[in-house]
């Protein structure tokens, strides 16, 4: 057995008593594997301390990715993962807070929180799993679905242009933004490592395959390996985000500025200099 399973999974999952809910060929399990490998490599290379890790998830298939892991996990309401994560990060500024969310969760129902979390530069690391539609509810159109695509709620074609999460994040001043695609294992793992070591808000968008709905309806291919081939065909490495017929992948920004939790705690300390609270 792979020692990573014993070291990182909850006992019921490690012993095979519980299974993930993912469909065969789904990208979510692969991303879980990348995440575990990234942490394991960081622990060996940099002495990364994973004891202070909190993982918050949104609702949707991707919200199930970290559930088998031994870490502290909060499954938040649909769209609210970033708010819950901000609460955690503010009261535990020394902790590492990771959010797993899908494209519908983060960009549609939770879009407002994404804007303000980036504006504040809360030190939260977001792994956005983009499968270009709502998978859990059975394949409906999402803000990331290509225009004219057929889904169960756009039977005559998607009338709306898609949203580029990375372009939005860059424009709002996110301090780390990257987009990779599930077939590129090395780049995905490397990016998760950079994300975990980054100071401030970071976003990694991971284009992922949903063979059951996205594959069959949006792309017209249902073999997972073929969808991954298709992804490699439509993506091109660049330093600028773009999300159209060609989708650019790569690292778009990586810099630092003061984080929300640092500023907040300096305010608390400053307020206390003027005298502690008296009942």
């Amino acid at each position: 057995m792979n020692p990573l399973i014993q070291n990182y999974l909850r006992s019921e999952y490690a012993q095979g008593k519980r299974r993930t809910i993912f469909c065969p060929g789904c990208g979510n399990g692969i991303i879980l594997g990348y995440f575990v490998r990234a942490i394991d490599e960081l622990k060996r290379e940099d002495g990364f301390d994973d004891s202070k890790l909190y993982i918050v998830t949104g609702i949707g298939c991707s919200g199930n990715i970290p559930v088998p892991l031994k870490y502290n996990i909060i499954r938040a309401l649909h769209g609210r993962a970033l708010s819950v994560a901000t609460g955690v990060k503010l009261v535990r500024p020394d902790s590492e807070v990771v959010v797993f969310a899908g494209d519908g969760d983060l960009l549609s129902i939770g879009g407002n929180h994404l804007i303000h979390t980036i504006r504040r530069n809360v030190g939260i690391k977001v792994i956005l799993v983009n499968n270009m539609l709502y998978g859990m509810t059975g394949g409906q159109v999402a803000p990331t679905t290509p225009m004219e695509a057929i889904t169960h709620t756009t039977p005559y074609g998607n009338p709306e242009p898609p949203l580029d999460a990375c372009k939005l994040a860059v424009s709002l001043g996110a301090t780390y933004v990257a987009r990779w695609v599930v077939p590129l294992a090395k780049q995905c793992i490397q990016s998760i490592k950079e994300l975990l070591l980054h100071r401030g808000f970071g976003l990694l968008e991971c284009l992922s395959q949903c063979p059951v709905y996205q594959g069959r309806y949006v792309i017209g291919i249902d073999r997972p390996s073929k969808i991954m081939d298709y992804y490699l065909k439509i993506t091109v490495v660049s330093d600028k985000p773009s999300y159209g017929d060609k989708i650019t992948i790569g690292k778009f920004v990586d810099y630092e500025r003061p984080t929300y939790e640092e500023i907040m705690w300096s305010i608390v300390n400053k307020a206390r200099e003027g005298g502690n609270y008296e009942a």
Binding site: L53, L77, R80, S83, G87, L90, V91, R92, V268, Y277
Partner: protein, 355 residues
């Protein structure tokens, strides 16, 4: 040793919360709950806590949940429309058993309604506002002093039962200035904060769907789902007599009529009882301190022998139905528009009942 102080209801609420150990506040400005946020912004950092003005009420309650889970006692305060937006979060905190204080400073509704006027129109939203089957604790303070103490009680109950507790006050009480006693440190009981349990080297799993004691999702298993939900309901329902309190006055001579009310309306009710007594009418007074869970048994015992209960309240007649369900003959005194029921109004209605 504590001290006496003249303060606004909102400040008493904030000081009560800090006394109870609240160290995280998240909120969005809304009349008439804005003063709570402003006092918090001023005082909480000096107590070593964190105040956040969020982008909306959805963010507020979910940030508070995150803070409560990770480390600190947390709260939110809002009014009608914001309270509606927080309902999903309240259900989330119930299902994941996160202690949390939620304050609703009631204004008139529905919709944007009457932002600057008081009401008691949210008493059913506080009880039934979130979707699904659940029980919840809701407290209703009658004056500024009680606002201070019930804020602490609400936080203590939320820790004891690991559930969100709602403090339901009104614009009148939140904006009222009264002299109150603020106890010194250690004078009033405060419970420690409860965070989710971990097992061995495995962290906690806080599952938003129905789950077993390990946190694993059981939503597709009818038997385990029912078991999980019944446990959440019973931890409140089976402890009604421990949780819920009422205040009863003028009952020694076994009056046949009681005036029963809560919150600010109870002040008019009590004034009416005093006027009626002065004129020689035997009328009792009952005030609900806890609205939910509704203290059926305690009320039954208190009004034993009474034939009629008159219920003045600032809505179209909500809590009166709970008295009706006890098999009592009830007279509803509903009041809409934003003005309190006047003692004289209640007086004349009760006089009509008695004659």
């Amino acid at each position: 040793m504590g001290k006496y102080s003249l303060m606004m209801g909102s400040e008493a609420l904030v000081r009560g919360a800090i006394y109870a150990g609240i160290r995280f506040y998240a909120g969005y400005p809304i009349t008439p709950a804005t003063e709570v946020a402003e006092y918090m912004a001023q005082l909480l950092p000096r107590a070593g806590g964190i105040f956040v003005q969020t982008e909306d009420e959805l963010a507020a309650i979910n940030m508070a949940i995150g803070a409560s889970v990770a480390k600190w006692k947390a709260m939110v305060a809002t009014s009608g429309p914001g309270f509606s937006l927080m309902q999903e979060g309240i259900g989330h905190a119930i299902n994941t058993e996160v202690p949390l204080l939620i304050v609703d400073v009631q204004r008139g509704g529905p919709s944007t309604g009457q932002p600057t006027m008081p009401s008691q129109q949210d008493v059913f939203q506080a009880r039934y506002g979130s979707h699904g089957s659940y029980e919840i604790i809701v407290l209703s303070p009658g004056n500024v002093q009680e606002l201070f103490y019930l804020t602490i009680d609400a936080v203590n109950l939320s820790e004891q039962y690991r559930t969100p507790v709602i403090l339901l006050t009104e614009e009148i009480t939140a904006h009222l200035w009264e002299k109150i006693y603020v106890p010194g440190p250690g004078e009033y009981p405060v419970l420690p904060h409860a965070t989710p349990p971990t097992r061995g080297d495995e962290g906690f799993l806080l599952e938003s769907q129905l789950h077993d004691e390990r946190g694993y999702n059981v939503a597709n298993d009818p038997e385990l789902s029912a078991k999980a939900l019944w446990r959440l309901i019973r931890k409140i329902r089976d402890n009604v007599d421990k949780i819920s309190r009422i205040e009863v006055k003028y009952f020694d001579d076994e009056p046949s009529v009681f005036i029963a009310s809560y919150g600010c309306s109870a002040r008019s009710a009590l004034a009416a009882v005093k006027m009626l007594r002065q004129d020689g009418y035997k009328v009792g007074f009952l005030r609900l301190i806890t609205l939910w869970p509704f203290p059926e048994n305690t009320i039954r015992n208190a009004v034993r022998g009474a034939s009629t209960v008159v219920v003045p309240e600032m809505n179209s007649g909500y809590i009166v139905n709970e008295f009706r369900l006890l098999g009592l003959n009830v007279v509803s005194v509903p009041k809409l528009g934003g003005e309190m029921p006047m003692p004289e109004e209640v007086y004349s209605i009760v006089k009509g009942v008695l004659s």
